[in-house]
């Protein structure tokens, strides 16, 4: 740490003040005190350490970008729920695309994704109660649970060589269930979905909906297909309908009064147990996908958030919005505790439950 010799500057510049140099010659008083030697050690070490640290930081520290953790919501934007059921107060149970089944036990405030053994699109879910339910979907997949969905297991069901998509399933009393789908699939189970058998022979028409009215089974399908069986599925009669559009939903208030909906706003009404069907189609409604009994009247849903409400005799229909929040399609409608819920894209389901279901938990119904 030699001192530099800047003192010469004034000797060169201002010869008049040349006496400055001699003042620097001073006696050295190096008292060897411990604190002083400590300071010397520090003065020697610290700079070396700092330089080494800077060099290291400059050459080797390359921060790499890290993102924030993004939690995956139970219901994602791309989810589509084709089927749902409300088996108990506050319980919402829905099945949809990519093998996804979600369940809420608090009216939709919180959701749980239930593990399933399939990634096929699931088309419908029907529950007998809060624990036992059955799900059907693409590739003829049938799942069932006994424990509220903690475990879903694949159940073997009759398959076609050609196409096997199952579209709807209904849960009936005493553990009975009926499922319909492509290639004339009409499957029946009487043991809470454990085993299944075909009720009609395979044929190249898809069935879209099934319903039980009194003792009569009704099945609706492609290209105006509408059939009934009074003996539990042994003998089938084709109903004459005045339309050729595909029929997608069927519902009966009692053994006599029923309604069927279909594509392009098709609405058919019967008041004689299906002997005759009257065309009350509402073309402006677009494709309709499901219908249900709503008190004395009727309620149907379809594409673009359409909600069709009909008077008891089905002669007058009003087009409303199902959710009013988007123009999403809805493939199924279910009533529970006085509230209607529509199966549709995940966002629609979230919107319906987030806003409308909240007061219910407060009301204690």
């Amino acid at each position: 740490m030699a001192r530099t010799n800047d003192r010469y500057e004034y000797l060169h510049c201002l010869p008049a003040s040349g006496s400055g140099g001699s003042a620097l010659v001073v006696p050295m008083n190096r008292a060897a005190s411990p604190s002083r030697s400590l300071g010397r050690v520090a003065a020697a070490l610290v700079p070396a350490l700092v330089i080494a640290a800077l060099l290291y930081a400059g050459l080797f520290i390359k921060p790499s970008p890290t993102g924030q953790a993004v939690p995956t919501p139970p219901i994602e934007r791309r989810d589509a729920f084709f089927g749902l059921d409300l088996p108990a107060p506050g319980v919402i149970w829905a099945a949809g695309s990519r093998g996804k089944i979600v369940r809420s036990d608090d009216g939709g405030k919180t959701w749980t994704v239930q593990p399933t053994p399939t990634v096929e699109h699931l088309q419908d879910l029907a529950a007998w109660n809060g624990r036992q339910a059955v799900v059907v979907g693409n590739q003829g997949v049938v799942l069932r649970t006994d424990d509220g969905g903690l475990h879903w297991s694949v159940v073997p069901a009759p398959r076609s060589e050609i196409a096997n998509k199952l579209l709807r399933v209904v849960a009936l009393q005493r553990g009975r269930a009926l499922a319909v789908g492509e290639m004339g699939a009409l499957l029946e189970s009487e043991d809470f979905g454990r085993s299944w058998r075909r009720l009609v022979a395979e044929r190249d028409v898809g069935f879209n909906a099934v319903a039980l009215a009194g003792d009569t089974l009704w099945v609706a399908g492609e290209a105006g297909t509408l059939m009934r069986s009074n003996d539990g599925g042994k003998v089938w009669h084709t109903a004459n309908v005045p339309v050729s559009a595909s029929l997608t939903g069927v519902a009966f208030r009692d053994a006599l009064h029923g309604a069927v909906v279909g594509l392009e706003g098709t609405v058919l009404i019967t008041d004689d147990g299906g002997m005759s069907w009257i065309d009350h189609s509402v073309k402006a409604a677009g494709h309709l996908y499901d219908i249900a009994v709503d008190g004395d009247g009727w309620r149907a849903v379809g594409m673009r958030d359409v909600l069709l409400r009909g008077v008891p005799d089905g002669s007058k229909w009003a087009i409303e919005r199902a959710t009013g929040r988007s123009l999403a399609w809805h493939s199924k409608l279910v009533e529970g505790g006085g509230r209607w819920l529509y199966a549709g894209p995940g966002l629609s389901l979230v919107a319906q439950t987030a806003h409308a279901m909240a007061p219910r938990s407060g009301g204690g119904s």
Binding site: L14, I61, P63, E76
Partner: protein, 794 residues
């Protein structure tokens, strides 16, 4: 040896003053030549300069941007006040706008997409079979029925409804892409603004965003920027004139600044660089350095004159000033230049150019201030005359006396050091929260309520997001994308990415295939799924493209269906948003490799290249700061032959940097391509003042052995120069706050802060440290008269 060096320096100084006519002639000639060169420097923003060309993201962007959309995409939103866009006059406006956009310079006519373009198609099933046709091309529907049909078709079309028509049907989007190499920001901005004005009408509002528009706005404000620059200069002149009370104190610093600028810009022209308007802040900062050095010399000159009032000799005083300040001045220049050149390690062309020009610019100060100012000073005739009656020097003297007293009183200086330590520790902690990338939604270059940022907010409100990133699903084999497993994988990526709230939406081939299949199955949502086999997907895609231009799918996949794009729409491009998105894409790609080989390639589009820029800056920021500090330490160590000197001068630098970084973190100014050069330059900036003060103390100690007196003298001489520059520059730089460019306003404040803190460090902290620690490279073996003990150097 040292004596020899010093004698040579003395001889050089004497030569400069003796041969002053020749020196002036040579410098004048060089300045004239550089001035001619500098006048031809183009002022513009060059797009390719902003991107790190070697970064894999940028390479992916360059390779695929032709089809998948470049980072220069402009989005124009047409919005109606009442009702929806499905009205004849609105559709007509959209149609005309879409058509006229083809005439904009550099536009890629095949990448103009809107409801009125040929690109948005409808697939419909009818009794004759499948029909595919553009939604609203070539003409707007003529009657109500046609418009109602169009509305229905849009609602059923996920390619249109959502991405190009807003969910509430009140807005339509037009996106335009450009050929990068033909892009002229200025022309594009003017032409698109003209089209927008033409399209705007009662009840129809338009919003425009996109990088070309952003740089167009910067360009638009160039005259204002120049005005502010001139006003700053005017304020500077006025303040210097007020404080120094002499023409030399006013004009010489300005001359130094101007000569440096001319030389640097001349060099820029020689190397073939252009001048980016956003870099003007850096230019001003360096000019401030030149002015500051020159003010030191003039102040010193005045002191020398005042010291010998009986024997006024301008030449001798100039020589003395030059000789005395040569070392701290050159040390300041070299340290600044060294810190600036470190920026060259950041592999972004713009930053490298700024580093080169900045280094040259700083280096010219060695001539313009260190040599030219004293040479000109030697011509001063009536050195003791004052130019106006207002005298602020007593105020300055009082302020400096206070600094002297601070350093002299042991308790006070301990308090000063303790509080600096506290400030340092606190700001260090806060400085780490500084963000890389943009810290706010919208563009940080413009104010939040600027037209551009308001437009951006409106568009992001109605649509999934105006900022795009594409990820390439590269299967590497013909028809690889038709594999249902590949499509499912892509859809999975989209699903995964959409969980991030900043991602407004995603789109890819995996959205098109199910739509076609659904259309074939009577529009049933239950059939919105992929085909079971590659062949079925191929048929679905064939249906979609048949009867259409082969290039119509090019936004989603290449012609052979080997590589496809997953396009993500972002609501903002904040650094955090981009980092999270990129990390998530990587996470997904690692967990779900594309079936059958192939990989996901990151990342193109604006957000993709911003990700690359941010990664480069993030990786380089520690490097630049550490290496700049290292340069500083080495400079000081070599100059003073003492490693302690290196540590000593790091103190003001580190304090001013942590404080300014804290300010940036507090104000939400992110570390990005525009702020990085200023931050790097600021590292050298903090130390210049300290050099002058400390060197003044050393020099005084050669004359006597009284440390307190030496500190007092140094503060009154060098400290006065520090105070003058800090006051004048800070006061003038504040004018930048009035800029319409938020970036410049913030940088102006940042510079003012930097200059202020550096001055405070030099005036308060450095003397206190010298007095307290008595480093040997300054005080030598002079013992402490009070305690007879030298505390350990921390």
């Amino acid at each position: 040896m040292r004596d020899e060096t010093f004698r040579r320096l003395g001889a050089f100084v004497a030569l400069c003053i003796r041969q002053r006519v020749r020196v002036l002639f040579i410098l004048g000639l060089l300045t004239a030549v550089f001035a001619v060169l500098a006048s031809g420097v183009p002022v513009r923003t060059e797009f390719s300069d902003l991107l790190p060309a070697d970064h894999p993201y940028v390479q992916v962007n360059d390779r695929y941007k032709g089809g998948f959309g470049s980072s220069n995409m402009v989005s124009i939103m047409l919005e109606v006040e009442d009702g929806d866009i499905f009205r004849p006059e609105v559709l007509k406006t959209l149609h005309v706008l879409t058509r006229d956009l083809q005439k904009v310079d550099g536009v890629d006519p095949f990448q103009i997409v809107s409801l009125a373009s040929k690109k948005l198609k409808e697939v419909r099933t009818s009794t004759e079979g499948i029909e595919i046709r553009p939604l609203m091309w070539p003409d707007v529907p003529a009657d109500e029925a046609g418009i109602a049909a169009l509305k229905l078709a849009v609602l059923n079309n996920p390619m249109a409804y959502g991405p190009y028509v807003s969910a509430d049907l009140k807005a339509a989007l037009v996106t335009v892409d450009f050929y990068d190499h033909l892009l002229d920001y200025h022309a594009v901005f003017e032409q698109i603004c003209a089209l927008v004005r033409q399209a705007e009408g009662p009840g129809i509002a338009l919003s425009v965003v996109g990088e070309p528009m952003l740089y167009g706005w910067v360009d638009h404000y160039l005259p204002e920027t120049l005005h502010i620059f001139l006003m700053t200069l005017g304020a500077l002149v006025a303040l210097l004139f007020l404080i120094t009370r002499s023409w030399r104190g006013t004009l010489l610093p300005l001359t130094a600044g101007a000569v440096s600028a001319v030389w640097a810009l001349g060099c820029a022209r020689l190397i073939g660089y252009h001048f980016d308007p956003l870099v003007i802040v850096v230019a001003f900062l360096i000019t401030a350095r030149a002015i500051s050095h020159s003010v030191q010399l003039v102040t010193r000159f005045d002191d020398e004159i005042a010291r010998h009032p009986d024997r006024v000799d301008a030449a001798v005083a100039a020589r003395t000033a030059m000789l005395a300040l040569f070392k701290p001045g050159m040390l300041g220049v070299v340290a600044d230049a060294g810190c600036m050149i470190v920026v060259i390690l950041t592999p972004i062309p713009l930053l490298q150019k700024v580093a080169v020009i900045g280094t040259v610019w700083v280096a010219t100060i060695a001539v313009s201030a260190v040599v030219l100012t004293p040479v000109l000073l030697s011509y001063v005739r009536r050195a003791d005359a004052v130019a106006h009656p207002v005298d602020v020097s007593p105020m300055l003297a009082r302020g400096l006396d206070r600094c002297v007293r601070l350093a002299a009183a042991p308790r006070v200086r301990r308090a000063v050091l303790a509080s600096s330590a506290v400030v340092f520790a606190a700001s260090l902690g806060y400085a780490f929260s500084i963000k890389v990338g943009d810290a706010n939604p919208g563009s940080p270059i413009l104010w939040g309520d600027s037209e551009y940022n308001r437009d951006a907010a409106r568009i992001n409100d109605r649509f999934p997001g105006a900022d795009r990133m594409f990820v390439v699903a590269a299967t590497g084999r013909q028809d690889g994308l038709k594999n249902p497993l590949v499509l499912q994988n892509m859809a999975g990526l989209q699903r995964f990415m959409e969980a991030q709230p900043d991602v407004g939406g995603t789109i890819s081939l995996a959205d098109i295939v199910p739509t076609v299949k659904r259309t074939l199955r009577e529009g049933s949502p239950r059939y919105e799924e992929f085909g079971a086999t590659p062949e079925e997907n191929g048929e679905l895609l064939y249906l979609f493209t048949s009867g259409a231009d082969p290039g119509d799918l090019e936004r989603y996949a290449d012609n052979g269906f080997a590589d496809g794009a997953v396009t993500l729409f972002f609501r903002d491009h904040q650094g955090e948003t981009i980092r999270t998105a990129v990390a998530r894409v990587k996470e997904y790609a690692a967990a779900h490799p594309l079936p059958g080989g192939g990989e996901y390639l990151l990342a193109g589009g604006l957000v993709g290249v911003l990700a690359a820029v941010n990664e480069v800056i993030l990786a380089g920021q520690i490097e630049s700061i550490a290496l700049a500090l290292l340069v500083l330490v080495v400079c000081c160590t070599v100059t003073y032959r003492s490693t302690v000197a290196g540590m000593f001068f790091m103190v003001p630098v580190v304090i001013s940097n942590t404080l300014t970084f804290s300010y940036m973190a507090w104000k939400g100014i992110g570390m990005n391509i525009n702020t990085l050069p200023i931050a790097a330059l600021g590292i050298g900036l903090g130390v210049d003042y300290a050099f002058y003060i400390v060197d003044g103390i050393r020099e005084e100690l050669h004359k006597h052995r009284d440390l307190d007196r030496a500190i007092a003298q140094s503060l009154r001489s060098a400290g006065k120069g520090v105070l003058i520059t800090a006051l004048t520059l800070t006061a003038s730089v504040i004018l930048w706050a009035a800029s319409s460019l938020r970036f410049q306003a913030e940088m102006g404040l940042l510079m003012a802060l930097w200059l202020g803190i550096s001055a405070c460090c030099a005036l308060f902290v450095m003397p206190a440290m010298v007095r307290m620690f008595r480093p040997r490279f300054i005080v030598g073996d002079i013992s402490d008269p009070v305690s007879q003990q030298v505390p350990a150097m921390a």
